[in-house]
Amino acid sequence: MTAGPGVPTREPSPARSEPAGSGSRRGSRLRTLTRVLPLGPATALLAVFLLGPVLWSFYGSFTNAALTGAHARSQDWIGLDNYARLFADPVFPLSLWLTVLFVVASAILGQNFLGLGIALLMNRANRVVSGIVGTAVVSAWVLPEIVAAFVAYAYFSKDGTLNQVLAGFGMTGANWLYSLPMLAVVLANVWRGTAFSMMVYRAALNDVPVEVTEAAMIDGAGGITRLTLITIPMIKNSITTNLMLITLQTLSVFTLIWVMTAGGPGNQSTTLPVMAFQEAFKFSDIGYGTAIATVMLLIGAVFSIVYIRALRPGKE
């Protein structure tokens, strides 16, 4: 950096930099620049690998890009045709509903509450029990998604573990993946994802000072009162953060559903990611597939905004 004639040779101290004159203001600008500099590579990577595909997908959704046929060679701008087709597609409302159902049932209700419940119980349990429970829960999360998906398939399939256990008790289980596909994938996702919420809540509960809970206890607050009036408000930010993360993760779950049911039978477990994959790669219609992806992006954005708003008041 070359120091211009107006720049004082002496570096302004942080305490003095704000009320100082024009020369040091330029110095602070320089400092801001050097402070921002280390963020450069990260920002560039984010732009290339996150923003880039998002923009490409957004652009692609207005074209008839395809993997085969004449449109693979040259794609045309077709405006909102893909969206018009999507909103007229009878599968779309079903798919949208299934996606919301999947997110609410498996993430917001299942993973979130089960994770919180296990975390609370583990705080009270002795070390051995909590160790065993923790390992059991986390092991499902550690598995690669494809392995977890095959495990879940083997568990729920017609001749799978679940039905064999039921047969041991003299009961005949349903063909879960066929007759209750959404229940099967929701349970599988709860099984796989609860560990994340559990870990977030365990960390959060450890931050709740014992004195506060003890004080409440002395004041005569019972277990449920302490939970609702002390613990939950104190970990509110963790709850919101956790909800946001698991919602976005669950919104994009593909492998689990694809392996277990491939979106079937019929379209009865075709969530938006499955639908986007089918359209883009099975039917080679990249333009239409990216239109679905864009809609998913918007749904994710809506959820995020709700959570970020919820996070705001507790922030002071």
Binding site: F49, L67, T68, A72, R73, A88, T241, G266
Partner: protein, 451 residues
């Protein structure tokens, strides 16, 4: 906890970046020439891999400084095609020679993935030995040839002689009408509980199998078709379409076929070949001429007794009308990538793979119907299994899929219609109407002809 969100987000970003970086392949920098060969390999389809592995050293010895890079894609037909199409997006990843399904040839020619082979074929003597019908499989709308056929196939009824005999049906069996099939199936049902009388694929799980080995045999035996080649329009509202759906509905609702929940499993064909037929638990089904390849020595489900226990019959037309039988044909080709840097070498490799010796080996070991006239006349080809002559004869009554770019989507709609009918989600009329509407939505009202 305030920092959790940014940290978690950056962890997610970091992992996805690692994954993305892993996807990009490193560019070749060596001065030597490399030929990239892309093809399909599965646990039940290894013949092409064996062939390429065998000719690789041969080709490298004849062409010094050339490395043959074999890149088998381990996936089913659909996923293979997707991966292949994705690799075609960049010259870096595009193959020099690749294995291509005949029904995707035209659509991929439109996409500019295949090299025009006319000039190369003109100087290749063996080309005149290829069957004329098979040659057209690799032809584009412009009349040029873009792909060389490896082999073709036909579809027929495969039936279990012990099961039919036990039900009092005389073998060899040749149904003349659809009702003959239902009669035989009902006899088996009455005589042998626990045996699936006659299965025909349906639903989206079995993908192209549903249409190639079930629905089209029905539809093309009614006098109606899926697509009118003459005016290049898709046929909707035909009685034949409804009759075909109704036949499947009868088969499934009377429990003459597998339970719908099993029929919708994408892996049901493994059960058919691996368990049901060898254990004598299935009367008959419609399957391809390649069926013996599963049971031959070295196949996925070795079953030496198949030569005695199995019989083959042509699928009948609806009411016995001419020509008295229906079959469907597909088959695969080898093509040269349009983005190849070494078109001459790539074509040379292709011709080595389909020369007389290798074509004979491939036809025998992959139970293909030969497309070279010299191979078709070879005693070794005819002696490959007891059914070669029967299934080869079906070439006379065979049909091909309409190889348009929209075909895959239309096929998916047909599959959806069969699934809706066998699961009882829709009546035949409802499913047919939904199909008609979907086809019009896909190709536009000006590309359909109403019956």
């Amino acid at each position: 906890m305030r920092w959790n969100a940014p940290i978690a987000v950056s962890v997610l970003v970091a992992t996805s970046m690692v994954a993305l970086v892993g996807c990009s392949s490193s560019a070749e920098t060596s001065g030597e020439k490399t030929l990239k060969i892309v093809y399909e390999k599965t646990d039940s389809f290894t013949a092409l891999d064996t062939l390429f592995t065998k000719i690789k050293p041969e080709f490298e010895a004849a062409n010094k400084g050339v490395t043959v890079d074999l890149q088998p894609i381990q996936a089913g037909d659909d996923d293979y095609s997707t991966k292949l199409a994705l690799s075609q997006q960049s010259a870096e990843t595009a193959p020099d020679v690749f294995y291509e399904d005949t029904f995707r040839v035209r659509s991929d020619i439109d996409a500019g993935y295949l090299l025009n082979l006319d000039d190369h074929l003109a100087t290749w003597d063996d080309w005149s030995k290829f069957n004329e019908g098979a040659k057209s499989a690799g032809m584009g709308d412009d009349g040029s040839v873009y792909a060389v056929p490896l082999g073709t196939d036909t579809r027929a009824i495969w039936y279990s002689k012990p099961v039919l005999t036990a039900a009092g049906i005389t073998v060899p069996w040749q149904p003349k009408t659809w009702d003959d099939i239902l009669d035989a199936a009902r006899k088996i049902q009455a005589a042998e509980p626990g045996v699936v009388p006659f299965n025909m694929y349906a639903g989206k799980g079995t993908g192209e199998g549903t249409v190639m080995q079930s629905f089209y045999e029905l539809l093309y035996g009614t006098g109606d078709t899926l697509y009118n080649e003459k005016d290049q329009k898709w046929v909707v509202g035909s009685q034949g379409f409804k009759d075909s759906l109704a036949f499947l509905e009868t088969l499934y609702s009377e429990k003459l076929a597998l339970d719908p929940s099993e029929a919708l499993d994408p892996n049901v064909w493994k059960k058919v070949f691996g368990e049901l037929f060898p254990q004598g638990k299935l009367g008959g089904t419609v399957e391809g001429s390649y069926t013996p390849s599963f049971w031959q020595t070295g196949g996925s489900y070795e079953w030496p007794a198949y030569t005695d226990d199995m019989g083959v019959a042509a699928f009948p037309t609806q009411d016995g009308r001419a020509p008295g039988g229906v079959s469907m044909s597909g088959g695969w080709t080898l093509a040269v990538g349009a983005k190849t840097k070494n078109p001459d070498l790539a074509f040379e490799f292709l011709t080595l793979a389909v020369n007389e010796e290798n074509a004979l080996w491939y036809a025998v070991n992959n139970s293909q119907i030969a497309v070279r006239t010299d191979v078709a006349a070879d005693p070794a080809y005819l002696a490959a299994n007891p059914f070669v002559a029967d299934v080869t004869k079906l070439v006379d009554v065979t049909h091909y899929r309409p190889a348009t770019a929209d075909y895959a989507k239309i096929s998916a709609e047909v599959q959806a219609a069969t699934e809706a009918v066998i699961t009882g989600q829709q009546s035949v009329a409802e499913a047919a109407a939904a199909y008609d509407k979907a086809v019009e939505g896909i190709v536009g009202a000006d590309k359909v002809s109403k019956k």
